[in-house]
Symmetry: C2
Subunit: 345 residues, 2 copies
């Protein structure tokens, strides 16, 4: 068969060619209309749009991707162990934010849970080979080679959170320091004098920041930073429980605790109950994350809220900018946190 007339697509759906024939124009013109090129007369544009509507034409993504060398897809890479561990809703909220931001564009969201470090490695190759226009990274650890790998491959990417204070990689994070400060200032403002803290694992930058915020707020209020009031946890409930017991043991005069996660606060609450201390009567409690647990604790837990969905949106926005304007100045955004007051303080 010669190159002659092409009809409907193989699966019965109309093709560009069809639309062109119907509108009485050439393929190029239809393509121009679809892609919003200004070099089309109004009359022609209207005719083409009518034909598109009549036929119910929808561009074929794969064909477009092949011809134009882009995919209109971005990947969200989540390390699965993290997603499982703490703050599950975090994950959903990020997705919601990203998805909301993508809704108006016609980018597709590809979800990739990486189970193992090896899978993560493979993803970079995959990303390069299969053409993802950009990548969104969540929960990146210090030793993770993925960001640098993507950088080398020239794949636009944005991460959520930072690995250190001077994170060179494009990122969106929330202000953990300020959040912790808010919490401690609040405690101090309610007349508490001996404020302890249960921290996260300090090799995680976010945990480190929350401790820094605790310290700064204390010192700003004229209190001295005291090691005996600090217990190093790991974000789990169990560590909150153990930490609280230990703290109570060494400093029975504690009248307030700032926990770097709600889960640890729940653990601490349990220890306090066992020790016969009332909340907030004897000891005021503040958490971090404003998760569902916080709302359902007894009493409900005052907590620092991160704008998770907002971070998702900001990441998507930053990534699209990077994709379209071709590698601009590295975007680094720090979003504000907020204190949600409840009965525990």
């Amino acid at each position: 068969m010669a190159v002659g007339r092409r009809g409907l697509g193989r699966d019965g759906r109309p093709t560009l060619e069809q639309v062109a024939a119907r509108a009485g124009v050439g393929r190029g013109t239809v393509s121009r209309v679809i892609n919003g090129s200004p070099r089309v007369s109004d009359r022609t544009r209207a005719a083409v749009e009518a034909a598109i509507a009549d036929l119910g034409y929808v561009p074929h993504r794969a064909a477009r991707a092949l011809a134009a060398n882009r995919t209109d897809a971005i990947a969200l890479v989540v390390p699965e162990p993290e997603a499982r561990l703490f703050a599950e809703p975090y994950f959903s909220a990020i997705i919601r934010g990203v998805s909301a931001e993508l809704a108006d564009t016609d980018y597709q969201l590809l979800l990739t849970l990486s189970r193992t470090p090896k899978e993560r490695q493979r993803f970079a190759q995959y990303a390069a080979g299969n053409r993802v226009d950009g990548v969104l990274l969540v929960s990146v650890h210090g030793e993770d080679p993925l960001p640098e790998l993507l950088g080398q491959l020239g794949i636009p990417a944005v991460m959520n959170g930072r690995r250190s204070a001077d994170e060179p990689f494009p990122h969106v994070d929330c202000d953990n320091v300020a959040g912790a400060q808010l919490a401690v200032e609040h405690l101090l403002g309610r007349g508490r004098r001996t404020v302890a803290t249960i921290t996260g694992p300090l090799d995680m930058y976010a945990a480190w920041c929350r401790l820094a915020g605790y310290r700064e707020a204390l010192e700003a209020a004229g209190h001295e930073y005291d090691d005996s009031l600090v217990w190093r946890g790991d974000f789990t409930e169990e560590s909150g429980y153990l930490g609280m017991r230990e703290l109570l043991d060494r400093r029975p005069d504690i009248d307030a605790v700032f926990c770097a996660s709600d889960l640890m606060a729940a653990g601490a609450r349990r220890a306090l109950r066992e020790a016969g201390r009332s909340v907030p009567g004897d000891v005021a409690l503040v958490g971090f994350d404003d998760s569902a647990i916080a709302r359902h604790m007894d009493p409900p837990l005052t907590s620092v809220r991160q704008p998770i969905e907002g971070m998702g949106r900001a990441m998507a926005r930053a990534l699209l900018a990077e994709i379209n304007d071709g590698m601009p100045i590295h975007p680094q955004q720090i979003l504000p946190t907020e204190l949600v007051r409840r009965g525990s303080s």
Copy 2:
């Protein structure tokens, strides 16, 4: 330029052609090796595989999709209002299950949150136009036209949950009836005599089933079903609170409550506390979902666990079967639920 030698892909990555040249074979042969065709000699296969490894060749997805008329992508459609509402972790767990099942294949997971019914409608067209090999549906409501639309378009799809007892659409669900039975039998087994229930919205089939299970367990144990022990809630904490107050009011002799969701159980717990009833001393409490809230209530809540991740896996498996074996008998799977005993009962 004539049709002559093609070199590297436009973006510098090796193409099929390159691999063929390197292995000293034709394009067709390489394609056959990649797609696992048996009609290749061992010697040739080995040579091709070596060339692929040398070059670090990764097939171009879009090109493959275009030529083969498939996409190797499946979409997970989630109504965003639901995802937000209750049981957030549900959503994550489904994703985890689906993703786990897809990890060994090279299907991509596309995530689509549909904000409005209109967006949902548009998705069908989109699915047809953009070629998704299959669709996974979560939280489908009674009036939702999407399943039927997909059916007409001949797009393989599987839904999570059922809209009614005789759901014709391929689906994976858990055994809500049996779960509720377990809960009530457990309560009865602990010597409780007057077991009330706070239901979900009864136009939701899952809620209806949980009530049915409650009734069946009661009757099987020789108790009569009593309307005054049933309060119709809507899965929210507030409705649990109000329901418990009302129930206590009409039947002060209640000594156990089965709530059709953990969130409602949390509300009920609050009402019980206000009424001065101890848990489980005066009133035993059982929830449904086994969510984070359950684990962190005081006392921790006995609850019915659904195999959420397992449902995700089962859905993915069923969909892949449908895609590959071309519309087999409608798969309908009901996974078992399980009672998790904690302090509240």
